[in-house]
């Protein structure tokens, strides 16, 4: 059994020995992306399991071990990890945990510490926790090397494009489940490519982007365009079906087409913040230069993805990060970076500009940054875009689905009415004033 080694501050380290012996558990957020991340980590020699446990047990473990006033995502992520150690059939002495640490003034940077406190409370203090971050906590047995980061970026790009096109096909597929089958088909295919060391250059990625678009475009679809509903919010609530009570499924079942902006912008945003810090407050030029390089690289990948979507002639493409950034002028400053920061507002604005004025803004109950960038900006958005139709929904272990669904239904009723009016106006051929 691996020896438990602590650093000078008493933090339990993940050692090289553990890398060989331990299984690392990874909480769920975005199944497609995280599935690919897992494969990439397996190729690096880590034993990694993707958790999919859900339900009341996860919430209960969270409630038990995490301060109940902490945000819901912390409660669920920690609940999921602890539930898995206790009930997932693992040897607790042979598991380690992954948790991301973005750094920044939001409570979220504290998840890793809350997780360690929770482990201690649960009598599992011997389980090492690995911070997945840009250099916040170091472990001898785990390193985010530049080459691994690059691979993960590719994984993210593939994840984003697959989720994007699948979302555009799923509501209209003639044969139920066709889009999902195509998703797993491509996941398998990409994993196979990764194993053979392929798919990891921009040139190859562009090729596979085109193939992905073509394959999804070939899925037979039918029906009138449905009401599109954008989903923005705190990153975990926005993406995790465990947290948002299957929001996307609910929207689909209500006959809407969910539009969920991807992960790429968030990553670029997090890097850009370091650049913005130097610009706003001063600092080392080298930090700025390095971050700018990283940012430019991902932005280039993003342009590849947008290019593929546009070339497909079938799919709507999202805007670039620079485009999002432009939108924010007059709303929030560049320095607004905690949590999702200005990006959240920018995503709402981009959705409105791209013909999706109906939006669910999802956040944990009492989310601090969202007071400002979510609910705090709705008044101004409504004033500037009277046709916008945004509903803010709070998620929390006590909030009930029926309350959430009822509010979303109101948003949908408004969306349908607006759409119907638009249609009848179009029919009467009266000039339609630009909505936005």
């Amino acid at each position: 059994m691996a020896e438990l080694i602590y650093n000078e501050n008493g933090r339990l380290l993940f050692t090289k020995e553990m890398k060989r012996e331990y299984t690392i558990l990874m909480p769920q957020m975005l199944p497609v992306h995280f599935g690919m991340f897992r494969q990439l980590l397996l190729l690096e020699g880590y034993k990694v399991d993707q958790l999919n446990n859900c339900g009341r047990a996860v919430v209960d473990e969270g409630l038990k071990y995490v301060h109940n006033d902490t945000c819901y995502p912390a409660l669920l992520v920690i609940g999921q990890l602890i539930d898995a150690i206790k009930n997932g059939g693992y040897d607790p002495h042979k598991v380690a945990l992954f948790i991301t640490q973005t750094g920044g003034g939001c409570r979220a940077s504290n998840y890793i510490h809350l997780l360690r406190k929770a482990l201690e409370k649960a009598g599992l203090e011997f389980v090492p926790v690995i911070s997945v971050s840009f250099g916040l906590e170091k472990n001898p047995g785990f390193a985010l090397s530049l080459s691994l980061i690059r691979k993960l970026v590719y994984g993210m790009m593939y994840g984003d494009i697959i989720v994007n096109v699948a979302n555009q096909v799923r509501p209209y597929e003639v044969e139920k489940g066709a889009a999902d089958r195509m998703v797993s088909c491509w996941q398998d295919k990409l994993i196979d490519l990764f194993r053979r060391g392929r798919g990891m250059s921009r040139r190859q990625m562009r090729r596979y982007f085109d193939e992905i678009c073509a394959d999804f475009a070939a899925i037979p679809v039918a029906g009138e365009p449905k009401v599109r509903v954008g989903v923005v919010g705190e990153i975990y609530v926005k993406f995790s079906s465990l947290c948002n009570n299957d929001l996307e499924q609910f929207l689909l079942s209500e006959g809407a087409e969910p539009v969920v902006p991807g992960l790429t912008d968030f990553m670029i945003f997090k890097i850009y913040n370091r650049v913005a810090d130097v610009e706003l407050y001063g600092g080392k030029w080298i930090k700025k230069a390095l971050c700018t390089v990283g940012m430019k690289y991902i932005e280039a990948c993003q342009r590849d993805m947008i290019g593929a979507l546009e070339r497909s002639g079938r799919f709507r493409a999202p805007g670039t990060f620079a485009n999002l950034h432009r939108m924010i002028s007059g709303y929030l400053g560049d320095g607004n970076k905690m949590g999702e920061g200005w990006l959240l507002t920018a995503e709402m604005l981009e959705l409105i500009h791209s013909g999706t004025p109906n939006i669910v803004c999802a956040q944990p109950f009492g989310c601090l940054p969202n007071h400002i960038v979510g609910k705090g900006m709705l008044r101004k958005i409504k004033d500037d875009y009277p046709m916008s139709n945004v509903v803010a929904i709070d998620y929390d272990p006590g909030a009930t689905r029926i309350n959430q669904e009822n509010r979303i239904k109101l948003m949908l009723a408004n969306a349908r009415q607006t759409a119907a009016r638009q249609e009848s106006r179009d029919k009467n051929e009266t000039p339609v004033p630009a909505a936005v």
Binding site: K117, M338, H371, L410
Partner: protein
């Protein structure tokens, strides 16, 4: 003729309407469904069978509980706000806005321009169910509450966010003798404030306003509050005849879009759905069978005090009174704790008359055989009762409960008391009360909560909880506050849960709330080995059983669980060893009179709502005060660093040493300005600006900006900013300066030096939400003060652009500003040290209040500092001590400057025997969810007590008093050891 039917199934009522071709109302009904929504809807529909039998009809369901019914029955559904808008468009087309209150929802719809609809979020209880709860609390029917409100003289400020908060405000007012009429009107006013503040979010309510929904239909007092608050005349306030059924009418109107159906077919579908249930989230039963229950009862009934008979006993006796929040408990005991007489009853909002009546009865029973040698009182109404009846001793509840518990189990190491409104848990360490945990204002889902629920469903509390004992599939309702539980119950009803399952679920919820929210325990061992449970709520076997199940351990429930406070008080009275009690005797009771009058104290900015109680013989008792001034005494000038800092900061306005010729710059006095003002004041006055500081915070100032608050769950200190900036605009300043600051100053005591997101970015929220700011120059640039050189460069450029200030001058002003800020910090530290020296010279205890700089605002702390010093403590703050400790690694990410100071101050306190910490926490403060646990662990590891005071816009200090007095009792007990 084609008929259209609308069915609105809400959280508490079912509304059914039938419309003809001309939108005329043929039939309407409005009935409570007592949690049996489907049955009620089907029954009502059957009533109109005669009219509609054999017809093809269009039928649409709406309402918050309607979604589930519609799904189960395969009927069409429209969202209720949408339906209401349709009805208003048809019947009252020139409407500008609709306010609709339902059982648990509040909605506002704005017409004109783009239609805008708002519903209360998940945390908002100021609705019909809330009014029901309040009526229960006051022991009147809702109609009586309404009638009472029309006779009010004054309005008390009551927290308007959610029901639980309001409850913690109302209870003490009632207990301190406030008039029921005034409280009734105040409750309605709270609903109005809640609706207006929570839902308008920056859009003005004006023009013709239509009021809908049950409460607004039936309650004239509520109507009056709305009309008065919004300043409407009869033309602009419309209360339609069928205002309680508008959503149902709207549903019927919307039915045009849906297919028609045979009436009998629709009715049958609805009736069929009654039986279908789809329960998902259930828990194991409380008891498997009767035998198990019997064993359980036998075990608990063994803890009983000695028998004593009041009709035969002769000798001395001692009286204990527990004037609790909802109930009054009394116990008369013999020397060995034998119970001669007990009393346990709801105090019906008037504890004085209950105690009077009981005392008379006790004297009658005692005759000349029994002599009362001492009387002690505890509980919320302690002061009032003590003064009214001249009791010998008043003691804090925690101590009374410990005394009682130790009587049954001398080894007791953990006590949990769940009463009507509050929950108290504390550990016993070395024979003294230690580590007190009270429920925060947000989770008071205690006894009165089950009671209200029981009544709403048409049961007595005893019957209701008994139903749950043998429920097969108790519903899992979560562990959050009352409001959340309400909607959980709604969900369970939707899913077709039986009353039995809901009852058992509620009992378990209360337990989970206690264990996870209040005690924050991970296992039974966190509590203790010898747990004594008490409080009226534990009389419910279901709650007790759920508690044992949750902990996996047997506990002790004395048979007198409900009167343990009174019993403990009686024991304390006995231990006084008095020869004769000062308690009013039988003759004096004959002459006893009591009247209460509400008064607002005008002696300082706290504006305490006082209640002046007058008794016979000119005796008076004033309650509701925070200091001794309204009692005629001078405010004791104890050293108080919060007070000192506040005065010092308030003085930083005007031209200072400059000429003021560059114009008037407004600075909102809130959030981080409490830290940064010395910097900006010097900076701007050096540059010849006149600094205009926004006024002192006050309730009034808060209300001024309330309508522009977009997020009702943000902390109160942030909400106050809306009023501050509006006031500055009104003062006609040339510009308002309120920079965004992601980063605070770096004091080298943490991993980073952030501000919290709210502090950092609130200026941007204000710019987007406060229309008045468009009338002025609102400057909210990002600044980073911790990089002095960079800051100087950047601020010079900004001042050049905005005010044409030569960069050299700006640089000089910045240097002066840094110096002034340093001087301020130093002054606070030196003054703090002087206060500490003073305390040590005079032998006084020292309380270190740890919070944020803005917690010194009297409107935010509600005079907690006055309360603390009134108990004879010297008060210093965290920033006076934090520099005395250096950096140390923490178990949490220590990345916020203000929070880092608290950790350091707490570490320092651990080294000082005469200091204790009181941590102030604003409700809704996300960062404090992290700091509170860390503070507790620092202090407890250092052998200190941890006391946390949670504050909001609530201004009542009842709970705060309990904590501070318990803290004092614990300090005392430690000293005695």
């Amino acid at each position: 003729m084609s008929f259209r039917i609308g069915i609105d199934i809400g959280s508490t009522t079912v509304k059914v309407v039938v419309l003809d071709d001309n939108d005329k109302l043929l039939f309407r009904s409005y009935e409570r469904h007592y949690s049996k929504a489907r049955e009620r809807a089907a029954q009502t529909l059957r009533c109109v069978g005669d009219m509609l039998c054999g017809q093809r009809v269009k039928l649409v369901v709406t309402g918050s509980a309607g979604l589930g019914v519609a799904r189960a029955a395969g009927l069409d559904f429209v969202q209720e706000v949408y339906a209401t808008a349709a009805a208003v468009n048809t019947y009252i087309p020139d409407t500008d806005a609709v306010i609709e209150l339902g059982g648990e929802d509040a909605k506002i719809i704005f017409f004109g321009g783009a239609l805008e609809e708002r519903m209360n979020g998940s945390c908002a209880g100021g609705t019909g169910a809330f009014i029901d709860q309040m009526a229960t609390l006051m022991n009147v029917t809702v109609d009586e509450l309404d009638a009472l409100s029309l006779k009010h003289q004054k309005i008390y400020p009551i927290a308007s966010r959610c029901g639980v908060f309001a409850k913690s405000d109302i209870q003490p007012i009632l207990n301190q003798g406030g008039r029921k009429e005034d409280v009734a009107a105040s409750i309605f006013q709270a609903v109005v404030d809640q609706t207006v503040a929570g839902l308008t979010q920056g859009r003005e309510l004006k023009g013709k306003i239509v009021f809908l929904g049950g409460p607004l239909h039936f309650l004239m007092g509520l109507r009056a509050r709305f009309v008065e608050t919004l300043g409407l005349d009869s033309e602009h306030a419309v209360f339609p005849e069928d205002g309680d059924c508008f959503a149902a009418m709207g549903a019927a109107l919307c039915s045009g879009d849906y297919a028609s159906v045979e009436f009998d077919e629709a009715l049958e579908r609805l009736e069929r759905s009654v039986d279908s249930t789809s329960l998902l989230d259930t828990m194991p039963a409380l008891f498997e069978n009767e035998a198990q229950y019997e064993r359980f009862l036998a075990r608990h009934n063994a803890s009983h005090p000695p028998q004593a008979d009041v009709s035969t006993y002769s000798g001395p006796a001692w009286l204990g009174i527990d004037a609790g929040s909802t109930t009054t408990k009394m116990a008369l005991i013999t020397g060995d704790g034998g119970l001669l007489y007990t009393y346990y009853h709801s105090n019906q909002g008037n504890p004085v008359s209950i105690v009077l009546e009981q005392l008379r009865e006790i004297y009658r029973l005692c005759g000349s055989r029994i002599e009362i040698k001492g009387a002690a009182v505890t509980g919320y109404g302690e002061d009032l009762i003590k003064n009214a009846f001249s009791c010998d001793l008043g003691l804090v509840e925690t101590v009374a409960h410990y005394k009682a518990a130790a009587h049954f189990n001398p080894e007791v190491d953990f006590i949990i008391d769940i009463g009507g409104q509050d929950m108290k848990c504390f550990k016993i360490r070395n024979g003294a009360v230690d580590s007190i945990m009270l429920n925060e204002a947000c989770s008071s889902g205690c006894g009165s909560f089950i009671e209200t629920f029981a009544r709403a469903l048409g049961y007595s509390i005893a019957d209701f909880t008994r139903l749950g004992l043998f429920a097969r599939n108790p519903v899992n309702l979560g562990s959050r506050c009352t409001v959340f539980m309400n909607s959980s119950v709604k969900q369970a009803q939707k899913d077709g849960a039986s009353v039995e399952d809901i009852s058992a679920g509620l009992s378990t919820s209360i337990v989970k709330n206690a264990v996870y929210k209040v005690i924050r325990a991970a296992s039974a061992d966190d509590l203790g080995k010898h747990i004594v449970v008490q409080g009226g709520t534990f009389y419910n076997d279901a709650v007790l059983r759920a508690f044992e199940q949750e902990l996996g351990r047997d506990v002790t429930r004395p048979t007198i669980a409900g009167i343990m406070g009174a019993f403990g008080a009686a024991l304390a009275a006995r231990d006084l060893g008095l020869e004769k009690s000062a308690l009013l005797d039988e003759q004096a009771l004959e002459r006893f009179t009591h009247s209460a009058k509400p008064v607002t104290c005008g002696l300082c900015t706290n504006h305490c709502s006082l209640t002046v109680n007058a008794f016979d013989g000119g005796r008076r008792f004033v309650s509701g005060n925070r200091c001794s001034r309204p009692l005629g005494g001078e405010k004791a000038e104890q050293p108080d660093l919060m007070n000192y800092k506040y005065k010092k900061l308030r003085a930083m306005q005007g031209r200072g040493e400059g000429s003021g010729m560059r114009g008037r710059i407004g600075i909102p006095f809130g959030l981080n300005m409490y830290e940064n003002l010395p910097f900006w004041y010097t900076f701007f006055t050096k540059l010849d600006f006149e600094v205009v500081l926004s006024p002192d915070s006050s309730r009034k100032l808060y209300l001024k900006g309330q309508r522009t608050i977009p997020s009702d769950t943000v902390c109160y200190p942030a909400k106050l900013l809306h009023g501050h900036v509006e006031a500055l605009v009104e003062q006609g300043v040339d510009a308002i300066w309120y920079p965004c600051m992601s980063y605070n100053n770096d004091e080298g005591i943490g991993e980073n030096h952030y501000n919290c997101p709210v502090v950092a970015y609130y200026p941007e929220l204000l710019a987007a939400n406060v229309p008045a700011l468009k009338k002025t120059k609102f400057l909210a640039p990002y600044v980073g003060l911790w990089r002095k050189k960079d800051f100087k460069k950047r601020i010079a450029a900004l001042m050049k652009d905005e005010f044409d200030v030569p960069p050299k001058q700006t640089a000089a002003a910045a240097d002066a500003a840094y110096a002034a800020y340093e001087a301020y910090l130093t002054d606070v530290r030196i003054t703090g040290q002087q206060y500490i020296d003073h305390a040590r010279r005079s032998g006084q205890g020292i309380i270190v209040v740890c919070g944020r700089p803005y917690h010194i605002d009297p409107e935010i702390n509600h005079g907690i500092n006055d309360l603390i010093t009134s108990f004879g403590f010297v008060l210093v703050t965290e920033d006076a001590l934090s520099h005395l400790e250096g950096y140390a690694p923490r178990k949490v990410l220590n990345q916020w400057t203000f929070q880092s100071r608290m950790y350091n101050a707490a570490r320092y306190v651990c080294t000082q025997p005469d200091m204790q910490v009181v941590q102030l926490v604003s409700f809704g403060c996300g960062t404090d969810a992290i700091t509170t646990d860390e503070m507790r662990s620092i202090l407890e590891q250092g052998g200190k007590l941890y006391t946390q005071l949670k504050i909001d816009d609530i201004s009542n200090l009842g709970a705060v008093k309990i904590r501070i007095r318990s803290l004092m009792a614990a300090i005392q007990a430690r000293k005695e050891q």
